[in-house]
């Protein structure tokens, strides 16, 4: 049996189910309890789990991110919500030094089973400080895992897995996706980290994407199909581990690849995926990989400028045409 629920409901179901299953799991962050979630993700959870397990914090990202890591050192399994990943920057030392490296620096003594989660990427005219895409900043740090779910089904299945994982997982949601509905089974399910999925099937070109820009990838693939260009749309689902095998498998079939990444182009996830595709598929490629990114500028406020800055279907269509020598 499936139901149609919002992405935010899927996130809440994942957290609530895991909290019912394991007393060591708790949720902490700004406005998660009494306000019922700045974006209503945790709505109702305070009522069910009480103030010991759904905990409001003041605006102290360094403090509560670190608190979570310390609690994880003691064997608890915290879910730490950042109202936006943009605000995680002030907690950078905690999330990048302490969470991912503790197991290593302690010679295997202190695993850190923690999930940091929240909105990532442009929310819509929020200006540059609030529109961070942190994936390219953070994914390079060994010791962390990173998931970036596309729809309600993945949001739930990946988050449940992330909560059960014994390593720090950076879970990147999107404000623009929270209200989008999708089919979610009644029954319990988990989605492993490190397993990409095919969102659309076509033999002419591979488009690789993560999270929200996949909507633009699918829109572009639709438009391209009308021109007779059929695309594989590969949803990486997690950035670390990166399922390069599935991506390469697709590219070997299509011989062309476009990578779509909502972060800036320089030293980015897009650059990393392109490099790995070149390494894995050099003999299969009939052109070099083309990348579609946000423009290399701070996110602007003006609606038209922001739309132009972000990856969009037009840019992806152009990239696919260019890479397949069709345009």
């Amino acid at each position: 049996m499936t139901r149609t629920i919002e992405y935010r409901d899927a996130l809440r179901e994942a957290m609530s189910e895991e909290m019912r299953r394991d007393q060591r799991v708790f949720l902490m962050g700004e406005e998660v309890a009494e306000y019922q979630g700045a974006y209503k993700v945790s709505r109702g959870m305070l009522d069910e789990f009480g103030p010991h397990r759904v905990i409001d914090t003041p605006i102290s990202e360094t403090g509560f991110a670190g608190l979570g890591i310390g609690a994880a050192m003691s064997g608890l399994r915290p879910i730490i919500e950042f109202m936006s990943w943009s605000f995680s920057l002030v907690a950078a030392d905690q999330i990048l030094n302490n969470a991912p490296k503790m197991l290593y620096m302690s010679g295997g003594q202190f695993p850190i089973p923690i999930v940091f989660r929240g909105n990532n990427g442009a929310g819509g005219q929020l200006g540059s400080t609030h529109s961070w895409c942190v994936e390219s900043l953070y994914a390079g740090v060994p010791g962390l895992k990173m998931a970036i779910p596309f729809d309600a089904y993945d949001a739930k299945g990946l988050l449940k897995t992330a909560i059960r994982d014994d390593n720090p997982v950076f879970f990147l949601e999107s404000e623009r996706l929270l209200g989008i509905k999708g089919e979610v089974p009644e029954e319990e399910y988990l989605i492993p980290l490190g397993q990409a999925t095919l969102r659309r099937r076509g033999d002419d070109c591979t488009i690789v994407g993560f999270g929200r820009p996949l909507y633009f990838c699918l829109e572009a693939a639709e438009a391209l199909a009308r021109e007779g260009i059929e695309c594989d749309v590969v949803d990486g689902r997690t950035i670390r581990p990166l399922d390069i095998d599935s991506i390469a498998e697709s590219v070997r079939r299509t011989n062309y690849c476009v990578v779509v990444d909502q972060s800036w182009p320089f030293a980015s996830i897009g650059a990393e995926v392109a490099a790995q595709v070149h390494e894995h598929c050099f003999d299969d490629l009939d052109n070099h990989v083309i990348r579609v990114h946000s423009d290399d500028v701070p996110a602007p406020y003006a609606y038209n400028l922001e739309q132009e800055m972000l990856p969009n279907a037009r840019k992806i269509v152009e990239a696919v045409r260019a890479v397949t020598y069709a345009g």
Binding site: Q23, R24, G66, G70, A71, L76, N97, L103, G108, D166
Partner: protein, 361 residues
């Protein structure tokens, strides 16, 4: 540096003075052990057997020993990078600490942490942390977990308190202040222990922080109990710290203590100490906490010179053997590079395994 020491060796004390000779002898031995460990570490560093940064605790021994004596073995301890003493006072064997500093597989972190990162899970020693102030948010997390276990999981009352140490330099880090505020808001059983040794590298406390003349002022805005304690006297440390610890355990309210001490050596091994005078150093050396406590033990507890000598000899032997053991411990095999990055095996990563010290005992 404004510091006064109160109390002389023979002054009557309330709490520590009531403890048995046996207990006080373990304190003395721990302080001697830390001193010997640090002296030998400096030599090993000069002989290039230890790399990286080395920060020794010489002069501050009474702080770790006196405070840890007032805690139970189940109370979490976390500190900064000047951390050998805290591990040793917690009971981590010297050979595992020494092997860690020499980058050997037998080290408490299998040679992956080094001098600044001493961890011992079995002894609730949650590290050694290299970034100034960064251990404080972790410390409130440890305190949060002890309370959570009591309230949510066990329904019990283990009533553990967390000892969170930091230097005077960390007083000026946001991470400490966020932690103090959160500890207050969430009612966490933690004691923030400021080891005020007068300097953060070359910056005298008063040059880096406001109210250096009375650091308990830092606790006022957070509504914490606080105390300022003479850290050159292990009995004064215990006497000052114990009531704070008891109250913290009782009320689950955070507290702040300033323990005034002095580091006799440089900040690290490459410190010419131009920022302070020889005269000042000598004044503090005259207050050596080990000499002071030795005198007390001789005068008030009848510890004879022979007994003291035997203690010193046994400490020297222990450290000598620790060094020998550490030097014989193998360098980590290269496969260790990819172990302990993740708990699970994927890509190049090889899962995780604990240090040898946990296979024993």
């Amino acid at each position: 540096m404004p510091m006064t020491t109160t109390g002389r060796a023979t002054e009557p004390r309330s709490l520590a003075a009531k403890l048995s000779n046996e207990t006080l002898c373990t304190w003395l031995r721990d302080m001697l052990l830390i001193r010997e460990f640090e002296v030998r570490s400096m030599q090993a560093y000069q002989n290039k057997k230890i790399g990286g940064f080395l920060h020794v605790y010489i002069g501050q021994e009474a702080v770790a020993v006196g405070t840890i004596a007032a805690a139970t073995a189940r109370d979490p301890v976390i500190t900064a990078y000047r951390d050998h003493a805290h591990a040793l006072a917690r009971g981590t064997e010297a050979r595992y600490c020494m092997a860690e500093m020499m980058g050997r597989l037998g080290g408490c972190a299998k040679g992956k942490g080094g001098s600044m990162h001493m961890f011992d899970r079995r002894r609730n020693m949650f590290g050694g942390h290299g970034i100034v102030g960064a251990q404080c948010p972790l410390g409130i997390g440890l305190a949060f977990a002890t309370k959570y276990e009591d309230e949510v999981i066990d329904g019990g009352a283990s009533r553990r308190i967390t000892l969170c140490y930091f230097g005077d330099g960390a007083l000026n880090q946001g991470s400490l202040h966020e932690s103090m505020n959160l500890a207050g808001v969430l009612n966490l059983p933690i004691i923030f222990i400021c080891e005020n040794n007068g300097y953060s590298m070359g910056t005298a406390t008063a040059r880096g922080t406001t109210m250096a003349e009375d650091l308990t002022a830092k606790a006022v805005g957070y509504g914490f109990e606080s105390a300022s304690i003479d850290g050159m006297d292990v009995m004064a440390v215990y006497d000052g710290f114990m009531p704070i610890a008891e109250q913290c355990r009782e009320t689950s309210r955070p507290a702040f203590v300033e323990i005034r001490t002095y580091r006799f050596k440089g900040h690290s091994m490459s410190d010419p100490r131009k920022y302070r005078t020889k005269d000042e150093e000598q004044r503090y050396q005259a207050m050596d906490p080990i000499e002071r406590f030795t005198k007390y033990m001789a005068a008030e507890r009848g510890v004879t010179e022979d007994e003291h000598e035997a203690m010193t000899r046994s400490v020297r032997k222990e450290i000598r053997e620790a060094i020998r053991w550490a030097e014989k411990s193998p360098h980590p095999e290269l496969g260790e590079l990819y172990r302990d990055v993740y708990t699970d095996i994927w890509g190049p990563y090889r899962g995780t395994s604990g240090p040898e010290m946990h296979d024993k005992s």
